[in-house]
Amino acid sequence: MKNAESLVTDEFSDDLFEVVGPREEDSERIGRPPMSAFKDSWMRLKKNKGAVISLIILIIIALLAIIGPHMNEYKYYETDYGASYQAPNQDHWLGTDKFGRDQWTRIWQGTRISLYIAFLAALLDLIIGVTLGAISALMGGKVDNALQRLIEVLVGIPHLIVVILLIMLMEPGIITITVAMVITGWVNMARLVRAQIFKLKGQEFVLAAKSLGSSNTRLILHHLIPNTIGLIVINMMFTIPSAIFTEAFLSFIGLGLQEPHASLGVLINDGFKGMRNQFYLLAYPAVVIIAVMVSFNILADGLRDALDPKMRK
């Protein structure tokens, strides 16, 4: 019956064939170290070089936006007609503009505006978007219907129109942009959160929590929101650069911040006018806004891969 004899050599001693039975502990053991979903995501994010570099760049830009304007004695609105159009030098690190204002100070002042917009976009997404999305999905029926129609109307009106209409009522400036964002900035988040919670609502672990007698509050805080966090973070990270760009764009075409206030869009508009002779005026704010936009996008991409491995190619 056995013709495997040829394989058998002397090294098979008899005691090797002693029955020792299964290794009970081993069969239920899990080899990999324990790891929470958060830790796991963080590990994956760390492996993504692009995302890490973007994160570092963003931190540097944020720090400079905070301390940059205080690093020399100039104020962003301080004009000095004797020192207009100076190329970068020891006194003015990045040169001066047509009114002799210090470009270094103005750039970081402008970056503050961009970061304020970023912060505002994130906050609106979180407060209005997540709340309305969650309510819409959980309540369902008429509430859901009404909210979704409202969102559809808001999506239907172009952002630029909202801003122009607001300018008819208010001065152009940061307040106007803020109000415009409050009106329309959160709709995408609301839609995504609603879809996700709708999906989760029917899942068995939610039913299990319900059958254990869980209250609605517990359901939202312990089961629904934690499972939506990944999506919320990812979407927020993609909203931020587009909000920053929108502000810069509005300022560039003159519907946003006005002189003497500085914003990256205003600075780029200024630099654009003197592009032929004073290219540095355009170059520096352009570099900053490109760095911010690209970094946010790469970081968002990295976060998506880290938080939602299924989306990876």
Binding site: M1, A4, P22, E24, I30, L212, G213
Partner: protein, 672 residues
């Protein structure tokens, strides 16, 4: 007969961010002309990967065929380019996929999808292709093919779609068909239809078939030869009779022992533990860690293939001449046990079961879909569950068994009728503490072990959820102690408490789900298909655990499932549901020995039994057609459209729910 396909020493691995997963580790296979080879194994054993490598359908970025040859009619497919493979796929070798719901393109008509493959591989005109398509649809048993070819997949039912998928696979008369779990997603009555169809086609066209499955009943029904896979290797191969009647590898013993057949009443042979992690495959015999008879050498060295006969090979050190004689444990012992046990409990139960725990009276649950359509998921169901018993509820998908469970649980509000739990109406308006009280007494175990645990929580928090909600422990230490003891009850250990669900295997997750339900010390547990998503050997673990807990804690179960042999095994009484109504209810032994309702009879005869001799001789009642839509049920008896015995009376009047014999209830006009 000549070998049409041969696989030599195939190694396939996947590159993941955690490392290299060796999914297939040296597979040798051959397929002869006109035969059916079954590849059996648990999930993750590499059976699907093997079949996909033959078609070269593995994702090229992550998967890699490291070494090995796949010889098809003497040509090595491994070296073939994508262009050359395109000529093979569909024309020479074609594939039938598991899920007919996703295997068809929803935006193309069925006719287009079938003729597409004819037009790619054969030089025919569109008209001829269309003609061929109609013939194919006739061949796979689809009525009115002339009309059906212009319909879209969503207009077909699951079973019909699988027929279409088979028609596509047959379109160019391939020499080999690979069927990857072709019936897993289907109900038993439909499964019987499809298996018969495959057999008929093979007879007619002489195709060779590789069928991949985890269901040994299906294997016994259809296969000529079997290859058992474990951890990326073939550990035993032979003809069906050899493997089923003279299995050699301990894993094959376990696999065969963990399948209940209609007679066994004793504890199932569960294989402890879970399959090894193929990221770091074990050194010796991969099964050693779960093998009761593992020898020292099993942990050190890989066993070679021992030849037992021309066709029968097994890879286990047990067959080495120096190995001690170990006989297959099951058969003799199990039979003795079975006899003892069947005499025991039956008398006991009938005396004890007088106290009803839950009474369900004319329960109805309707869902409103669309403006006018009402889906009658549960329509007038009445039964009683007695204290300490297990009531099984079986039926095909869409028959309303899960909805019944959830409505009893109060996850859904009832549309009519009432549920009395310990004489109290469940669906009455209640205040918060009453609801909480009810939720403590009645608990649920869910079907999908992957969806039923919150992925963001640790196992300790998941299990303790009920403890937290009901404030069952005062201090943190008490809570932790409770979690540890629950983990122990379900056979897991303390170290598992701080881990997250994704780190566990399906069976372990299901046991965590059971621990969560047990945490509130319930009296009644509704188990909604608790084992249907698990592998056979793991199913036995869970079922044995549930039986043990019932004995220890005096639990009452409502066990919902579509697997009749498992239901028979665990239940004291069994109810059969069809299209929202319950058609027969009797003690498990009664129902299986003497089914009265024609639907029960058909259902029982459709279940494949893991015994090739029985399976090949058995006469089947094959039900025609599919389940009608529950939103538009047939008038009269709901089963009348598919019932082989239906009369005019059946089509006009709904049958009465009556007790034919003592404790044997049936709803059928034909039974008196």
């Amino acid at each position: 007969m000549e070998k049409i396909l041969e696989i030599n020493d195939l190694h396939v691995s996947f590159h993941t961010y955690a490392g290299k997963v060796q999914a297939v580790r040296g597979v040798n296979l051959y397929l002869k002309k006109g035969e059916t080879l079954a590849i059996v194994g648990e999930s993750g054993s590499g059976k699907s990967v093997t079949s996909k490598s033959i078609m070269k359908l593995l994702p090229s970025q992550s998967a890699e065929i490291e070494t090995g040859k796949i010889l098809f009619e003497g040509n090595d497919l491994v070296g073939f380019s994508e262009g050359e493979m395109e000529k093979i796929r569909g024309k020479e070798i074609s594939m039938i996929f598991q899920d007919p719901m996703t295997a068809l393109n929803p935006t193309l008509t069925v006719g287009k999808q079938i003729s597409e493959s004819i037009l790619t591989h054969q030089k025919v005109s569109k008209k001829q292709a269309l003609q061929k398509t109609i013939e194919l649809l006739k061949l796979v048993g689809i009525p009115n093919p002339e009309i059906r070819i212009n319909q879209y997949p969503h207009q077909f039912s699951g079973g019909m779609r699988q027929r279409v998928v088979i028609a596509i696979a047959l379109a160019c008369s391939p020499k080999v068909i690979i069927a990857d779990e072709p019936t897993t997603a289907l109900d038993v009555t439909i499964q019987a239809q499809i298996l018969d169809l495959l057999k008929a086609i093979q007879k007619k066209m002489g195709t060779s078939i590789i069928i991949i499955t985890h269901d040994l009943g299906v294997v016994a029904n259809i296969a000529d030869r079997v290859a058992v896979m474990y951890a990326g290797k073939i550990i035993e191969t032979g003809t069906v009779e050899e493997v089923f009647y003279h299995p050699q590898h301990p894993y094959t013993w376990g696999l065969l022992g963990s399948m209940p057949n209609m007679e066994t009443k004793d504890e199932l042979v569960a294989i402890p533990g879970s399959p090894p992690d193929l990221l770091h495959p074990p050194l010796g015999d991969a099964f050693a860690e779960r093998n009761d008879y593992a020898m020292k050498i099993d942990y050190l060295r890989e066993p070679p293939m021992f030849k037992l006969s021309e066709t029968h090979y097994a890879s286990t050190w047990r067959l080495h001449e120096k190995a001690p004689k170990i006989e297959r444990p099951s058969l003799s012992q199990r039979h003795v046990k079975a006899v003892e046990q069947t005499i025991g409990p039956i008398g006991e139960i009938s005396d004890k079961q007088m106290e009803p725990l839950i009474e369900i009276k004319h329960l109805k649950k309707y869902f409103h879909v669309g403006k006018k359509e009402v889906l009658k998921a549960v329509d007038d169901v009445s039964f009683t569950i007695y204290k300490g018993e297990t009531l099984g509820l079986v039926g095909e998908s869409g028959c309303g068994k899960s909805t019944t469970g959830r409505t009893i649980m109060r996850l859904y509000d009832a549309s009519g009728g009432e549920v009395l739990f310990q004489k109290e109406n469940v669906h009455e308006k209640k205040n918060l503490s009453q609801v909480k009280n009810f939720n403590r007494k009645v608990q649920m175990i869910f079907q999908d072990p992957y969806a039923s645990l919150n992925p963001r929580k640790t196992v300790a928090d998941i299990i303790a959820e009920g403890i937290d909600i009901h404030g069952l422990s005062k201090t943190k230490e008490e809570r932790q102690a409770k979690v540890y003891s629950l983990l122990e009850t379900v056979g897991l250990n303390k170290d598992h408490a701080n881990r997250y669900p994704h780190e566990f295997s399906g069976g372990q997750r299901q046991r965590i789900g059971i621990a969560r339900a047990l945490a509130v010390e319930p009296e009644f547990i509704i188990a909604d298909e608790p084992i249907s998503a698990l592998d056979v050997s793991i199913q036995a673990q869970v079922v044995n655990l549930m039986k043990k807990l019932q004995k220890e804690k005096g639990l009452t179960y409502l066990f919902i499932a579509h697997d009749l042999s498992m239901v028979k095994h665990i239940s004291d009484r069994v109810g059969v549901m069809y299209l929202g109504g319950i058609v027969e209810l009797a003690s498990a032994d009664d129902l299986y020995a003497e089914p009265l309702h024609p639907y029960t009879k058909a259902l029982l005869s459709a279940v494949p039994v893991p015994d090739p001799l029985v399976e090949k001789q058995r006469e089947r009642i094959i039900l025609q057609g599919d389940l009608p839509s529950p939103s538009n049920p047939p008038s009269g008896c709901r089963f009348s459209t598919r019932c082989p015995l239906a009369t005019d009376l059946c089509r006009k009047a709904a049958p009465e729910w009556k007790e034919i014999k003592s404790k044997h209830w049936v709803a059928c006009h034909l039974v008196d």
